[in-house]
Symmetry: none
Subunit: 188 residues, 4 copies
DNA sequence: CATGAATGAGGGTTCATTCAT
DNA sequence: CATGAATGAACCCTCATTCAT
């Protein structure tokens, strides 16, 4: 059960902790984007150049890792939509850019809606959307029939559709989907 | 009278071929609807009351089985939309009723768009949509901006969103999504 | 996920089923006796020359395997004690001969006393003891204070003590323990 | 006054050495009694509120820890049986109270009978038993056939039987076993 | 042509042990 | 000298696929 030998990169010590955590999050992003959501969990550790045990220490399960990944996204998003200039279109832009990770998160949210960490994150995301919708409605850029939950749902659909498409088709898919939602949201 | 030995359920002989095929398709529908898309492939055989070998004989891989399942759906759909009374809303109704299987099919289509059987089936589905869109547009029930591919995409989004939702939430999700697409398609 | 190649001994077909089952039981006996109770479960499969999957098919968990092993012992025991000549000493002889397996069974019984298969087997064993105790008491070879449960407990203690001892010490341990129990059971 | 920075619980410095040692021994007692012998070794460190490294520094392996734990028991026992009033029954009382830890020790003794620390401890325990047996025999409370090794063996059997039993059954098991040994040891 | 057992690679998770700080 | 994160081998179990009967 101990490492049979001292094979290669050894214990870098506790100092490596935060770096490992960050590496794991980055690796998760890359691996999900490259190989989809069904990669072995351990592939994340391998990609991060980190032992299996460290992966489990930092993120006891898939959900925890997804939460960490998405937490960065949401934080970015909050900062980015803090000002008054952001629109729903900007939100969809971001979704397009993060489609695969977003889909992973949405799947996990649906599977673990009771997990408090997940719920909290979902709440933060919804807050962003609420603010955007209010602002856009006030500006008359979207119809009164549009609710925040409609935009949230559209966000999920867009992400999923992109994650599903072959990379070559993504631009076209994104364009079509966004036209669809623009039509759905526009004032009547 | 031929000897009818072994009237149990073992080897029912060659005559069982077509019956087995049908049983497998039905079983696939049930199993996917009940337990989602991640059930072991072998669960289909068990549910159908058929040996593993027969499953593989009839359907060499998951795609082949999904194609067979969806083929029945498309055939139904073609028959059902042959007349003049069917609308896009009716199409979405059917999608709602078959959400989980539809999602499976969509995933497989995306993963095997080169498989001729898949392509053919996709073509048939698209034909149905084209006809519907033409008719609805002629009737002035949808806007001129709506293309068949928009409806196809909406179909996939709806199915996926439903397959993803917890069973208890499906009614609400379906309602919201359909409102969204109605708004997107309505004449301006 | 499929066998990468056709590496070595391939599928011997369903006919190998019963033989595999028997081989697994025999292997379990050997492995437990040789390496104690903490061997990896998979070692049994390896020793039997059988795939992991087959082990799990025949015996879904450790308990099921232990039950099967001990079932043979109990059946033997029942047959052997059917006549009138058998004594408690003979029972202890058998325990000595099967010490390690007996210990495994006792441990599992204690861990899964609710498992019906385990309970049934325990009941059969107790029956044998009850018969022996009645007969011995009638013959005046043991005291009236001796209950079947005392003998059952002694049986377990003897087995465990032997399983624990180094092989070289077993004869001495067996001798001492049996003297101890003989003293405990003898008429006053 | 020296700077007492970091009064939390991190690195308490060299002074914590003996305290840690004692905490680990106490933790081992608790953890084994509570969760049995198969807890992760690291659980002891966690329970003691001490780093993994300190556990390994003080006790390089499981045996070393078990020896330390049992050493306290034996020392207590020696003190307690120094006077003239103690009986074998008192010894068994103590075993009952310490069943799980005793079992752990017995297993380790059997696995490492060559380890000098283990041997020494075993010797001390045996000394206690020898004294008790002599005294009890002189008092006519046990038969001449009883040897110290018989009592030692009974001790181990009792501990094991208790450690094995479900907590709810322990009282009954203890009662039956002690009756058995009393019968075995009583003068003829 | 059906059956269903056999196979074994692979992914999940745990935990003994080491070692940088 | 304490800390506690890092490591990775090992075990568990599942399930896709094959193939003797």
């Amino acid at each position: 059960m101990p490492p049979t030998k001292d094979s290669g990169r050894s214990n870098r010590g506790p100092a490596a902790g935060p770096a490992n955590r960050a590496a794991l999050i980055a690796a998760a992003r890359e691996v999900y984007a490259a190989d989809g959501l069904n990669v072995p969990f351990s592939a994340v550790a391998k990609r991060a150049g980190v032992g299996q045990g460290s992966l489990y220490r930092h993120f006891p399960d898939r959900t925890a890792l997804a939460v960490a990944v998405f937490e960065e996204n949401v934080t970015d998003l909050e900062e980015d939509t803090a000002g008054d200039e952001r629109t729903i279109d900007d939100l969809l832009d971001r979704v397009v850019a993060q489609a695969v990770v977003s889909t992973a998160f949405i799947d996990l949210i649906n599977a673990h809606r009771d997990d408090p960490a997940v719920a909290h994150l979902g709440g933060r995301f919804r807050e962003v959307v609420v603010r955007l919708v209010e602002r856009e409605r006030a500006a008359g850029r979207i119809g009164d029939h549009v609710e925040a939950d409609d935009v949230t749902m559209a966000t999920g659909m867009l992400a999923t559709e992109l994650a599903r498409a072959a990379p070559a088709d993504r631009a076209e898919v994104a364009e079509r989907a966004r036209r669809l939602f623009r039509a759905a949201f526009s004032p009547r």
